[in-house]
Every structure is written in structure tokens, then in C-alpha cells.
Symmetry: C2
């Protein structure tokens, strides 16, 4: 007879469809006794909700969207995103909410997907990452009226609630550590300049350099790729006055940089200290293992999920959430500079 519907349950239990719906959704409107009976029947008949019917009836789609803009072929889903994804899923799955993931070519395509999924009622909300300096996505999402949680901040994300960590403090802690070791020439292989967090880190380095009286503190923008990370490292190490420490905005670039140093015969950490802004298995498996900024990205994902679920339940609940500032895990890629 195919899958059972609430009509089947209603007939079996001798009540109306409405009563079944109330009972199944834990809403008032049925007596405790009736509810129990209905739930038992539903269980016996192995009833499962039909997600499309639920969504049509006016309830939620039961899914949220995460859209990442990156060229399809070059997608090396970074460890950071892998961990974030895990955390998001763990957080959402507690409330049986699915995560719809899509990777698109660029921001324009990303916006198109937001419009499409919203108008198709495919998702109930969005998670927004990679906050840009002047981010065109913010306006679109606000206009669409879709519940959205932004990963990143503080500030610059319209009225959308955000979950953020203090990138500035994090960068300061790295620079202070390197300065304490005696480093005076520090380079920073930054990410895409269009990203807000890239700008924050660059500014933090500049400010710290002035305060600590460093000789040099250079931020070089990259596209986050291993290729640019390697190329920029090569350029830096080929200079006469080369930096004694390089801070990399991602673990992939840091490992690529380490590879270049090894290839050029520059000893790490003897002649060059390396710090990665992201910690991951990558930072651990190379030799020497990299000093890196550790944060609990899995938990971060869970928190983003919880924040979005809270907004879905009650739009007025939207509030920014600051997460703990990442801490430096010192491994073997950093040391007192030789000279």
C-alpha cells in the first residue's frame, strides 16, 4: 500500500488528520492520551514525514544553504572548511535540518543561487562565509528576507547576525610571539585582499609592527593558492635582506612555503620561522611541524548552526556571538632567529 500518510494514521487511530498533525509536531490541541496513541500508531505504521508536503503546507523546508564561491576545478576544500562543514552538520542534524552545499564560480553566481533557492523555498536560511570588504551579498540576503548567519566580523554585515573570532587579537599574538623571539623582519603572506579578515590581519600586523618597533613588516596579498604561496615565498627568500619569519594566512600556503624553503636550502626554523594562521592535519604532518593558530573550527561550525537555528525559531533572537580568540600552538617551525 505504499508509504503511510497521516490520513492512514488518522483512520487507524480514529481521529482527524489535524489531530495527527498536532500530535506528530508536539503542538497543543490534542490530549496527552490521544497524542500517545497517535504516536504509537505512527510508529507501528513506520510513518515518516514527506518533506515536500511539509514544506508546501507552510512549514519549513528543513534545510539550510551554504554556497561557496570558488573556481570549481581549483576547489581544494581546505581543512578549515572541512572542519567547519563537519561542525555545521553536527549542529544542524540535531534539529534534523539538512545542509545543502553548493560550490559556484564567483560571487555573481552565488547571489543567483541565493535568489533561486529562496524563491524555490528550497532552504529556510543561509550561512554566509568569506565576508568581503564591500559585500554585495549582504544587501541581497537582507532584501530576500532570508534568515542568515554570517561567519566573520565584527561589524560590516548589515543587520545579519554574525559569529566571529577576533582576527586582530590573533594576529597580534603571533607578532608579539615572533618579536619576543627576536624577529625584526617579518613578512605576511595574506589572502585575498577583498576579504574583510585579510584587511583586518594586515592592519593588525602594521599596528603591531609600529608598536613593537619592527624593522620590516610586509603583507603580500595572494589568492590563497599553494602556487602563489610558493611563488611569493620564493621572491621573499631571494631578496638580499630576507625576512626571518613569515606568517601565512592558510595552512596550504604555509606548507607550500615550507617546501620552497627546503628546496632553496633555507633551514626552518634556523634561518626562517614559519607560522600558519590555520591549524590542521596539514600543519602537523610536515617536517618540521608548523607553529599555528589553533581554533576549534568544528565547534565554530556548531555555533554557527545553533545561531541560525535560533534565528529560524525566532527572528528577534538574532544576536552576534563572539567566539574564543584562537591560540598559538607552538611547534618546531619557529625559533630565535640565527643572527
Amino acid at each position: 500500500m505504499g508509504r503511510p500518510t497521516i490520513a492512514d494514521i488518522a483512520r487507524q487511530a480514529g481521529v482527524s488528520k489535524g489531530a495527527v498533525s498536532f500530535a506528530l509536531n508536539g503542538r497543543p490541541g490534542v490530549s496527552e492520551e490521544t497524542r500517545t496513541r497517535i504516536l504509537r500508531v505512527a510508529e507501528e505504521m513506520k510513518w515518516r514525514p514527506h518533506s515536500a508536503a511539509r514544506a508546501l503546507g507552510g512549514a519549513r523546508a528543513g534545510a539550510v544553504g551554504l554556497v561557496l564561491a570558488r573556481p570549481a576545478r581549483t576547489l581544494g576544500l581546505e581543512p578549515f572548511f572541512a572542519q567547519l562543514l563537519s561542525g555545521l552538520q553536527a549542529g544542524f542534524s540535531v534539529h534534523s535540518t539538512a545542509l545543502q552545499l553548493l560550490v559556484v564560480e564567483d560571487t555573481a553566481a552565488e547571489i543567483e543561487v541565493y535568489r533561486r533557492w529562496a524563491s524555490e523555498h528550497r532552504v529556510d536560511g543561509f550561512v554566509l562565509v568569506d565576508l568581503q570588504v564591500r559585500d554585495p551579498r549582504i544587501d541581497v540576503l537582507e532584501e530576500l528576507g532570508m534568515p542568515t548567519v554570517v561567519l566573520g566580523g565584527p561589524g560590516k554585515h548589515g543587520k545579519l547576525p554574525s559569529v566571529w573570532a577576533d582576527d586582530r587579537e590573533a594576529m597580534l599574538s603571533i607578532v608579539e610571539y615572533l618579536a619576543a623571539l627576536g624577529h625584526r623582519r617579518i613578512a605576511h603572506l595574506a589572502g585575498l585582499p577583498a576579504f574583510q579578515h585579510t584587511q583586518r590581519r594586515i592592519r593588525a600586523l602594521r599596528d603591531a609592527a609600529k608598536r613593537l618597533g619592527l624593522t620590516e613588516a610586509l603583507s603580500l596579498p595572494t589568492d590563497f593558492s599553494d602556487a602563489e604561496g610558493a611563488a611569493a615565498t620564493r621572491t621573499l627568500l631571494a631578496r638580499r635582506e630576507r625576512p626571518t619569519a613569515i606568517i601565512y594566512d592558510s595552512d596550504v600556503m604555509a606548507v607550500a612555503g615550507l617546501g620552497v624553503a627546503t628546496e632553496m636550502g633555507v633551514a626552518v626554523p634556523g634561518e626562517l620561522s614559519i607560522v600558519s594562521f590555520d591549524d590542521s592535519v596539514l600543519a602537523r604532518i610536515v617536517h618540521p611541524p608548523l607553529t599555528a593558530l589553533s581554533r576549534d573550527t568544528f565547534t565554530l561550525g556548531e555555533q554557527v548552526a545553533q545561531t541560525l537555528l535560533a534565528v529560524l525559531d525566532d527572528p528577534a533572537a538574532a544576536a552576534d556571538l563572539k567566539t574564543p580568540t584562537p591560540r598559538l600552538t607552538v611547534r618546531e617551525s619557529t625559533a630565535v632567529p640565527r643572527r
Copy 2:
């Protein structure tokens, strides 16, 4: 007035809802002229389909599922999966089909998700990966009657169509290359023994060793983690008669192994040759860059997507697809053994 529905379009165009539906879906039942007019009106009104309503009406959910069983916290989505995911999405998005991704703890949970998503009509089909030796998922998916494409083979996947590459041939090409260089003691850090492809590779190495008259050809199973990859490498390199070459079943393990060799002062490739069964940015960014088996994982993903879409269109179209055998990309981690 909120989002337009086909009823609005019908009114505006002076036709019935049915006619609008036919026109919008490119089905026969309306004249070319009427169709054009309806499409224009839909365009003007910025109509978009409501996915839930479509699904309820009996059409497709417009989404397919990919469920990965791995412990949530340890999820380092490997480069292989990142690439595969990209390809899958590229392939599915051509037909506006979304990919619903979920990471679960184990196979039991994975099966539960298949049952749930199927009964909720949340997806139209599944992509199955990480084929196991006696895979309980096959029976479940066949019983559910869900269109499914298996990544892996040949054989051992019931009546479900599969897209596969020849792992045996691939392993043979590696061993033959190493033997030609003069290696006689070769070790193989294999993946989880429960996986079919692990068994295939182990068998291929054993067969090749016999044929080529190798002194030693040892396969050690691991859990694919960098930790076990490192530990096993350490054990191998500490032996009196250590292997002159190690084949790693994943890039993450190969990089971890390279780290251990560096740490132990074993020169690569002078004293130890390293080959990775998976190529990726990881294999390229370390120093020395790793000789690895290259395959076009992105295209593989696209092919899996196309195969599933074909099955969704016509269940009778199910057919296995063999993809090109991966080829060895020789880099700097392999050489003639020193002694």
C-alpha cells in the same frame, strides 16, 4: 503580492494552469504559439518553481544525496573528495539538481540516512562511495529502489550501476616502475582493509611481486589517517632491512610518511622512494614533490553525476562505466635505490 504562482501566470496569459505547467516543463500539450506567450508572461512575472510543490505533485525532489561515513571530528575531507565533490556538483548543476551532503559517524548511521531521505522524498537518488568488501548498503539501496550510482568496482555492487577505474592496473604500473628503477624491497601502506579497493591493491602488489621476483612486498593496513601513516612509516624505517620504496594509499599518508623520513634523516629519494596513490595539491607542495598516480577526479565526479542523471531519466539506462586508468606522474620522490 508575494511570489507569483502558475495560477497567476494562467490568469495573465488567459489559459489554464495545466497549460502553464506543460509550457513551463517543455511537454507536449500546448501549441508553440501559446507556449511562447506563457513563457514570456512567466519571465515578466519573474516566476520560479516552488520546489516543494513540484516534488509533491509527483515530480522529482531535484536533489541527490551523498552520505559519507567518517567520524565527524576527524573529517579532514581529503583532496580526493574535495575534487570529486566539485565534479559531482558541476555535473548535477547542469540539470539544476542539488547535491545534499551529509557526514555521519558510521555505516549504520549512513544506512539510516538513506532510509530517511528516501521515505521523506528528500532526494531522487544517491551516490555511493567507499565500497566495502561485504557492503550492507547495497542491499538496502536496492530494496529502497532508489536510483544509485556506485563509485568503485568492477563488480561486487549488486545490480547498481558503477563508475570505476582499474585500481589493479594502476597498482601494477607503480610496482613495475619501481622494479624497473631497481627496487626489490617495496612496502605498501594500504587503507582500511574493509574497502574493496584496498583489497584489490594489496592483491595486485602481491601478484606483481611474484611475477617480478621482488625480495619483499609488504602491505600494511591503516585507517588512512596521517597518524597511522606516520607510525607505520616509522616502524618500517626502524627495521634493519628496511624497504627502499613505500607506496602510500593516500596523499595525506604519503606526506606524513615523507615527514617521518625527513625527521629520521632518511633521504628521499636517495635512501627511500615514495609514491602516492592519490595526486593532489598536497603531493605537489611538499619538498621533494611526490611521484603520484594522477587521475582526473573532477571529471570522474562529473561522470558519476551524468550516470546518475541518466538513470533518473531512464532506469533501464543503467550501465557500468569504466574510466581511464590513472597514470603515474613522476616527480622527485622516486629514484634508483642507492645500494
